[in-house]
Symmetry: C2
Subunit: 415 residues, 2 copies
């Protein structure tokens, strides 16, 4: 596929988006349900395609984790099909009148929620992103322009084929869900520069993808960035609760972006909590600052840069502070703007933390693991934004819409 082919494909996706923009919500839900049925019907086809991707990954020497991410099963396919059906059951995000007023000159002004148009998704190995992201795009009447990784190409093609079948069944243009099948580096960069085609580009992947987006993307985008999440345990914390929250935030699923990477402890409770944690989560390697190591010599010493790392593993850094202001300043310096929690029984300290820590989500007496579209009632998510524009935190259907002005008059002109 040449760069020109990609632009031509983009024009087809754009044309499909215009048709989708005039479709009914019932049609779009029908398409989602028909796609779910097709995915179940075609399970063996999808799994065969997936097996070929897995075989190539194995012969290329991929890690066990990478192969696990790539692997589909009957169970995972059923979860994808159910995901499509769940999105069809959410509330229609479009048409909402965000606000309205009548001006002194009689103009009736309202702001109305509408589709974005073409949403580009550029993502790494997980093939389930193909159906999860396309479903949310479709429900918000956006065309989904998908650029997955080379390693999952056969799987993605099989999934997209089922999704397009659903579109056709509902009388919608198949190009409204399109996959870039040339997965070279060159087309990835060109994809990020399809101005006039892509209205919003969302990357789902690691730091190198994010860096490439910053360097190359010229279309509007929303970054789903790192999660360097902290839990701060205050002097006034209930230590049983703190222990429960810290363990949950670190251990329940260490490889995800809303897991805790850094533990910030008030000096007054640090020793007791560290001693408890060393017993209750022995599988976690704690990397302490000097004060932490002095309190509990069995800790490893944190190296340069450990407080700015997203471990995505059973590792956490530990910082001791003398009070809330130091904790807030530390988190604002080292956090990635994702999710930050305080554990305390002191309501004033909690509100201070919630007001002054600068992140997409701030939590009091709850695990950072709750910062997730499903947990927060969005139904599904297309990613978690760590930037401040457009959408912040978990991005559901609303993040895939735009708001525009509709103005009705009787011949008014400006004087």
């Amino acid at each position: 596929m040449t760069v020109r082919d990609l632009s031509e494909l983009g024009e087809r996706v754009r044309a499909a988006a215009r048709v989708l923009g005039t479709s009914s919500d019932a049609q779009r839900c029908d398409a989602l349900r028909a796609a779910a049925a097709r995915l179940r019907d075609q399970a063996s086809v999808v799994l065969t395609a997936n097996a070929s991707d897995i075989e190539r990954a194995r012969s290329d020497g991929a890690t066990t984790t990478a192969i696990d991410r790539l692997t589909l099963s009957d169970q995972r396919l059923e979860a994808m099909a159910q995901g499509l059906e769940t999105v069809a059951m959410l509330s229609n995000p479009l048409g909402e009148r965000v606000d309205s007023k009548t001006l002194a000159n009689g103009l009736r002004v309202e702001r109305v929620r509408v589709p974005l148009g073409v949403v580009g998704i550029i993502y790494e190995n997980r093939p389930n992103v193909t159906s999860d992201a396309a479903a949310l795009c479709l429900r918000a009447a956006n065309a989904a322009f998908l650029r997955g990784s080379s390693g999952a190409l056969a799987s993605n093609q099989a999934i997209v084929s089922a999704l397009r079948f659903g579109l056709a069944q509902a009388g919608l243009p198949e190009d409204a869900i399109s996959l870039v099948e040339d997965v070279s580096h060159e087309t990835a960069v060109h994809f990020m520069q399809l101005n006039g085609v892509i209205d919003c580009l969302i990357p789902r992947g690691g730091p190198s993808l994010i860096a490439s987006m910053r360097e190359n993307a010229t279309v509007p985008y929303v970054l789903d960035g790192d999660g360097i999440c902290h839990v701060y345990v205050d002097a006034a914390a209930n230590l049983d609760m703190a222990e429960r929250i810290v363990i949950n935030a670190k251990v329940q699923r260490p490889g995800v972006c809303n897991a805790m990477e850094s533990l910030v402890l008030h000096a007054d409770i640090a020793q007791e909590l560290l001693e408890r944690l060393s017993i209750s989560m022995p599988e976690v390697s704690l990397l302490g600052d000097e004060r932490a190591v002095a309190l509990l010599p069995s800790l490893h010493a944190a190296a340069e840069g450990d407080f700015d790392r997203e471990f995505l593993d059973l590792i956490a850094s530990v910082k001791i502070v003398d009070g809330l202001p130091e904790a807030i300043a530390f988190i604002n310096e080292h956090g990635s703007g994702h999710s930050e929690a305080i554990v305390t029984d002191d309501g004033v300290a909690a509100e201070m933390f919630l007001a002054h820590v600068d992140a997409a989500a701030v939590l009091h007496n709850a695990s950072t693991r709750f910062v997730d579209g499903g947990e927060l009632g969005l139904g599904a998510e297309v990613g978690i934004s760590t930037q401040k524009l457009h959408a912040r935190g978990p991005m559901g259907l609303e993040a895939l819409t735009s708001v525009r002005w509709v103005i009705r008059g009787e011949g008014q002109v400006r004087s």
Copy 2:
């Protein structure tokens, strides 16, 4: 100023933004009023600085228009001071609870409107942008990081000095309004790449600035792009109203982005309306497609590309269509997503147009000139966004805020 100096300045602006984020709304309003008073007190200082900018522009051979944009006067300074006071009278945009709910697990979840942090503004000659933009940033508790043009440097320095005086009077950090005083091309590019410092960058300028943003910017940004605005006059239009709206949209202020650049006429009414317009707005040069020229041979023939040009002058292109679908398709192809109007007495046609034309603002029986923050009741605007993310159309205080998640629990962990 080296690139390193700019980064250091950025760190100071960022630190000031954190302090501003914890200030009270009353303090920020006090700062605006004190800045207005200072601007009046220091009028002669500002005008002297402005005179030196004008003198240099003259000796550099600047056009009359460029010099007019650059020139301040007692009247313009007073308008700037009043602008600061107006922003102090708007509603506080911060703290609004956008939505809230209690989850089944007892977590209380809300989304709250908060400042963006550091807003960068990169702009061309008009010195009034300095105070207008800084005022909106300040009211929304954002630091304003300003990078004006070299041609207005002395004026901008004098204005910023008055604004910083206001900050100091209100006990706020002066660095919360900072001007980049090295106006080389190199620092402009570096400014667009201050990741970790600038949370949102807004350009105010022409096509070359926008192109440079797309190419160079790595920080999040919102584009204030071209306005290739259309007025479509339907077969069912009241021609008196249509004539009034077309004249207003084209002639009232041709050099602004919400002026009409292209007139789309239904064939049934084209000849009559063109004949009327050739009499009622003889100063406007109409560039017609073949059919338009056939109807009124006194029209000029439109050249290749004339339907994609923002003239910003007493010029408009004219396209004849056979019906509403053709008009909508034409506008979606040639518009820049700014403001698009239909004139018709046919309510069904109007709603079809409003629903299917893809632009920041769509209007029925009203002049495109109303698409302006002041006219639409925003109080003031920092620009007009032609992109679909974050803010679309006129950007007021709300566009300078972010929404984040605040989650309160009693020790909940995820299972």
